[in-house]
Symmetry: C2
Subunit: 390 residues, 2 copies
């Protein structure tokens, strides 16, 4: 594991926030970091060059999707995920757990693993901890995740306990199965919204000495307060010197709250997905480009924004592209939202180095209107699906 390490560069005196550097075989990642999601080995609508220019330092790809199509063997044969998708920076692959529990049909969990039907062609598959590790070793990401059982919200205490304990046993099996020395296998903390389960999960995983830790099963519908409380329970139990990834989170406001509680890494489809629906992130919240008010608006999405879109195009043109269903619109919107998040995280990092993190947090949250629920509705729909009987 010498190829992977985490270095803490600064710690905030007034919160659990820290600035770090993740060293990986494919380069360094300054933290806190937002990781864009490239589900099918592509961050939807943008090229690797554009990602880099927008400020990406690491990309996430979904094991579940790539397992089903084109398959880990194909990717391995083509030189691994980095070469396959033309991204030579660090890559993280998730465990597939969340996708099996949110996208796949007919899932059956047993101690061995989880069987499910592909959302693409209905074919039957079995994910075991060992098989998921094997798939990720073939894909070849820098950071990989063990199969976990992601519980929906709400979830009974008994269900949550059973799932999180199985996740711990799967983590142990994953650790034994994992061989590639150039990959860092993280542990995933589960336990729903139950503090004692979260505590048990974090402590047990900390004892297994993973090179990094992820916190899963949050931002799945629970109140924000519950998410914050769970972070406050877990983080102090995880080793200080290891990176901490908050899976599937989130929104600009979540980054501040997560960083304040000691999280280093975040990934989420929200910003890229809402971009494709015409919701553009601005300092005050968001702007719906479909709005007729922008039909003749010569201004960029946000004055002073240095993203490719804002440097070249007006709101009026962007609205025209969306009205005309031109795919260039999806790309320009995605580039802007990605740039917004990358630079927000860079600002957060700088504020930690400067000792002004809490001031920045307070200023930002005082004026930023969180993304309303109806705009997140696709995300919500996926969560409803996760509640459906398997």
């Amino acid at each position: 594991m010498t190829a992977f390490s985490f270095e803490i560069v600064a710690e905030d005196a007034h919160s659990a926030a820290r600035a770090g550097l993740l060293h990986t075989p494919h380069g360094d990642v300054p933290t806190p970091v937002f990781i864009p999601v490239g589900t099918q080995a592509t961050v939807k609508t943008v090229s690797p060059d554009e990602l880099r220019q927008a400020g990406a330092t690491i990309v996430l790809a979904n094991t579940y999707h790539l397992y089903l199509r084109p398959g880990p063997d194909v990717v391995a044969e083509l030189g691994g995920l980095h070469r396959f998708m033309g991204w030579d920076g660090p890559i993280l692959t998730d465990s597939g757990g969340f996708q099996v529990f949110s996208l796949a049909a007919n899932r059956q969990v047993s101690e061995e693993g989880v069987t499910f039907r592909s959302h693409i062609d209905g074919s039957l598959h079995l994910f075991t901890p060992e098989r998921v590790i094997e798939a990720q070793e073939k894909l070849g990401a820098d950071i990989v995740m063990p199969l976990d059982e992601c519980t929906p919200y709400p979830c009974s205490y008994e269900e949550a306990r059973e799932a999180h304990r199985r996740t711990l046993r799967w983590a142990e099996r994953s650790r034994k199965a994992h061989c590639r020395p150039d990959q860092a296998l993280f542990g995933i903390v589960q336990g729903s919204v139950y503090p004692d389960l979260r505590r048990e999960s974090a402590e047990t995983l900390a004892g297994m000495d993973f090179p990094g830790y992820a916190i899963g099963g949050l931002s799945v519908g629970e109140p924000k307060e519950a998410m914050h409380a769970m972070l406050e329970v877990c983080v102090p139990l995880l080793p200080r010197e290891k990176p901490r990834h908050l899976l599937g989170v989130g929104s600009p406001e979540d980054f501040f709250e997560g960083v304040a509680r000691g999280m280093d890494m975040f990934d989420c489809v929200l910003a890229t997905r809402i971009a494709r629906h015409g919701a553009l992130l601005v300092r005050e919240g968001r702007l719906n480009i479909h709005n007729a008010a922008y039909a003749r608006d010569p201004r960029p999405i946000e004055e002073g924004c240095a993203c490719y879109t804002c440097r070249h195009f007006s709101r009026a043109y962007l609205r025209h592209l969306f009205q005309s269903q031109e795919t260039l619109g999806l790309r320009l919107a995605t580039l802007h939202n990605l740039h917004f998040l990358f630079h927000l995280l860079a600002d957060i990092r700088r504020s930690i180095l400067d000792g002004t993190f809490l001031t920045l947090k307070e200023e930002f949250l005082a004026t930023f209107r969180p993304i309303p629920e109806e705009v997140r509705r696709n995300e919500a729909a996926r969560r409803r699906l996760a509640r459906s009987p398997s």
Copy 2:
């Protein structure tokens, strides 16, 4: 019209081919040139920067589409088409004639103009020569076209004569209506496949002394021989020192045949449209990226191709993007096909300067398999539409 001029740089000794330079207010265009089609003020899937990098020197936009959405007033208010779409090079807008006769419903032609219903919302509109010029003056392209009546194929002699003579009267009205000194208004030769009508059209237009000439109504279903014959009739009647644009053409083989007969400019959606269906242009013809044979193919689309796609991605990855319905695939395919055509035209130009044009033509046509009709089927569908009763 001082802002616009055409300079002949070299003429082939063995054919009517010539190499030229089109001087426009937004820069020079080496000819022969392929002009990509940006129907709705965007060449589908690609950004202006990418267009430039792929080799574009001039872009075409459709008056019909932009008239309906967002409307010429909106574009004018936003500083004109160049600023609106972020392309600071030369732009050509077509007359809308072809689109009215192929896309719009309920069209009624009279001496005044043509009424039609929008393909977007069914609203009723009237295009007159004056109104089309007014719209194009607001859009602000460097080269503009007069409203013409585009006849389908086949078309009776009487119909063709009536339509082409009306087109001539409309050309005269357009010339009178056109005021902007920074725009070049071309004349459009019509006359279907009837040599005497084509002759009458070309001679009459030549007498009106336009700064450039377009030949319309070809490549609408007639045999290639008929198209070639019509070019051979028209070109000698058009002033040698003026540029000649073959509207809506075409395929790689068409460029050679057109250039050999004295044409300087070409535009067509074929290459970009088939790209979005996964048909990629290669030296031998085309490659269908959906083919399972490419699932594990590590090679670029074409060995030695310097396009962005070929420099970064394998056939296997491109196939994966198409199979997974990722829009990045559409863009990468489009960039390759555009690069292919721009560089083919650059090769043709170089061969004219070198005096080797006919050799290049012979070599190319000996091994290039023309795009089969089923691949062009979308184009064919549009043409069938053009035959439907109005």
